[in-house]
């Protein structure tokens, strides 16, 4: 019993004050991917390698749109790996909870 008390006191408090105090993920964390609109050339390479298929390219009459859904994203970073322009990358953001699926979509588009 004495040993248990000793270890408990030695350990002290280990919980952190999240979310009051933000908990920043370490560098290199595989978090929410973001599309950098100004660099994207709409080549569709990311869409073709995405394992769960949550990136898609739409080519309409007047514009091209690249959409990514965080719903099924597995944060593998294949999109970041294959993008020739470096226009898609994983970030340190992990707070993705949302009440609607639409809020979990991100897209970029360009007029033709």
């Amino acid at each position: 019993m004495f040993d248990i008390l000793k270890k408990t006191l030695k350990t002290g408090t280990v919980t952190v004050n999240y979310p009051k105090k933000p908990d920043i993920a370490p560098a290199g964390f595989r978090g929410r991917p973001e599309i950098l609109s100004d660099k994207c050339t709409y080549c569709g390479e990311c869409a073709s390698v995405c394992p769960p298929g949550v990136i898609w390219l739409e080519e309409g009459m007047s514009e091209k749109t690249l959409t990514l859904s965080y719903c099924g994203c597995i944060f593998c970073g294949r999109c970041e790996e294959v993008c020739p322009e470096g226009s898609i990358r994983l970030t340190q953001d992990y707070e993705l909870a949302s009440k609607t699926k639409d809020a979990l979509l991100t897209s970029t588009s360009r007029k033709l």
């Binding site: 290199g28 964390f29 394992p51």
Partner: protein, 530 residues
């Protein structure tokens, strides 16, 4: 040299149709009616473990189905003499489409039980003489004559549901009650049905039923590209991600005939041992929880969390995902050497302190000693693997017996205990934690310079076996590639072997000890159901 393959060649000369050696795998295609005798001999006389049975649909190319019996052939002591052997022996038989049946080996080799029933469900090949021919994977509402792994079964098929009934074994008698548990459980775990027959508190019989979450993973493999398949393998069993993905990548790399860079082999080894650490800590925490040793559970969970956070720093993922690829690893961890060493050395001290307290506690000992015993002959007969096997006196570990990645260069012990109870399984895990830390430290200090991956583009047609020792035990991938696509990917998760052992482990134990026994076996639903 392999004495076991030599013996098969000599004893079954007239039964072997052809032979094909590829690396450590020796394939013997034999006459259909000889398979049972050969399996019997390999298992009973040569002590080779039956590690998997699976089928392939070769009707298009070769006009038949093929069944593969996969045996592990290892150095072993027999009659005071060490037999020299190292590798895998695969016995193959061809099955004609118009005669879709084969002789069951289950009554001779009990470990064949679920594999044969799985083949029956997925390929429609009937194991004649199987002692329990009920369905296993497909439930009773699955229509007859609908076999998902046949090539002419389209992946988009939505089968019509039919009516049917599943019969459980029954124990009858005065005062015998059935307790039905699941498939929906109280905690956030996966579904499985447990049917206890009890007389008072002691369990007379337990029958388990699984595959509620069968997802058709093997079919899915055949319908996606290789680069995407890597991420599927990684997600088959959530907490054994690295072991699965490495086994898959190793199989594909073998087919491609590439040696990955030494640095990648070492990085993979470090990742696999980090995975073992957090799994074993989670299991020890779970056992402590189930024996109401809350202090121990809290500290074990704290240590597990420390490893998960270390994983995140090292790989960007708490569960070590996204690191492996065909041809090596995707990120270097060289700049993380110091932090890993520092964290692990503190971790080792904390872990030792905790284990000293845990095993010195009389209330813990009272609950885990002699509880849930799996006797050596049962473990061997069912081909139990991993820590559960090593706690029942089975001295097997894929890392040592079929070395891969950097394990041939590193020194480690394989802890083996004999009692086969919850206590032994907990102690084996605790001992393995120290070995894992030792392996990581050696791998870090010897981490070779150089590339972390080589490019693998075109892969010629072929097949190979990939294997790892996951935290739960031996994990196998048999992959066949045709035209740069997966023709067949057979996944054998350790839990597929270990689940049946729980039916034996609980016998003569009281119902309240079931959760501890279950936890001590650390069984995966996801890896099993696939």
């Amino acid at each position: 040299m392999n004495e076991h393959t030599d013996a098969v060649r000599k004893d079954f000369k007239s039964e072997i149709l052809d032979e094909n050696i590829s690396g450590s795998e020796t394939y013997f295609r034999v006459k259909e009616d000889a398979a049972v005798r050969i399996c019997d001999q390999l298992y009973h006389r040569m002590d080779c473990a039956l590690v998997s049975i699976f089928a392939t649909d070769r009707r298009k190319k070769e006009g038949c189905f093929r069944i593969h019996y996969l045996f592990s052939s290892e150095n072993q002591l027999q009659n005071d003499r060490v037999q020299t052997a190292n590798g895998f022996i695969i016995i193959q038989i061809d099955i004609a489409e118009n005669a879709p049946h084969f002789h069951s080996v289950t009554s001779r080799v009990p470990a064949a039980n679920w594999y044969e029933r799985e083949i029956q469900d997925m390929f429609g090949l009937i194991p004649v003489g199987h002692p329990d021919p009920r369905r296993l994977v497909n439930f009773e509402d699955w229509p007859p004559k609908s076999y998902p792994l046949r090539k002419d079964f389209d992946i988009r098929t939505k089968p019509e549901r039919v009516k049917g009934e599943y019969t459980y074994r029954r124990v009858e008698g005065e005062g015998v009650y059935e307790i039905l548990v699941g498939p929906v459980h109280a905690g956030v775990i996966e579904p499985g049905h447990f049917r206890f027959s009890v007389a008072g508190e002691p369990v007379l019989n337990l029958e388990i039923r699984h595959f509620y979450t069968h997802k058709g993973v093997e079919k899915l493999f055949e319908n996606i590209t290789l680069d995407k398949a890597v991420f599927l393998a990684e997600r088959i069993s959530g907490d054994n991600s690295v072991a699965h993905v490495v086994a898959f990548c190793q199989a594909v790399e073998k087919i491609a005939g590439v040696d990955i860079p030494p640095r990648a082999r070492y990085v993979r080894t470090i990742l696999m041992e980090l995975e073992r650490l957090y799994n074993h800590l989670g299991d020890i925490a779970g056992i402590a929880t189930d024996v109401a040793y809350a202090f121990g559970a809290a500290h074990a969970n704290l240590l597990k969390e420390e490893i998960l956070q270390l994983n995140e720093i090292v790989t960007g993922s708490r569960l070590l995902r996204g690191m492996n690829t065909i041809g090596g690893v995707r990120r270097d961890i060289g700049d993380k050497k110091d932090i890993i060493s520092q964290k692990l050395s503190a971790f080792r001290n904390d872990f030792r302190e905790l284990m000293d307290l845990l095993f010195a506690s009389p209330s813990v000992a009272d609950r885990i000693e002699t509880t849930g015993r799996i006797y050596n002959d049962i473990a061997k007969g069912l081909h139990v693997v991993g820590p559960a096997a090593r706690a029942s006196g089975i001295d097997r570990d894929t890392r040592r017996d079929h070395p891969y990645a950097a394990y041939p260069d590193l020194k480690f012990k394989v802890p083996v205990l004999k009692a086969g109870d919850v206590n032994a399984r907990t102690r084996v895990r605790a001992d393995e934690v120290y070995e894992s830390i030792g392996i990581i430290e050696q791998a870090l200090s010897r981490l070779p310079d150089g590339d972390i991956k080589i490019s693998v583009k075109e892969i010629h047609d072929g097949y190979a076996l990939g294997y790892t020792e996951a935290p739960r035990g031996e994990t196998l991938y048999w992959v066949m590639i045709e035209n740069n696509r997966i023709e067949r990917c057979k996944v054998r998760d350790p839990s597929f072997c270990n689940w049946l052992a729980i039916e034996y482990a609980v016998l003569d134990n009281i119902v309240p000890d079931f959760p501890i026994i279950n936890k001590s076996l650390s069984l995966s639903y996801s890896g099993n159901d696939m």
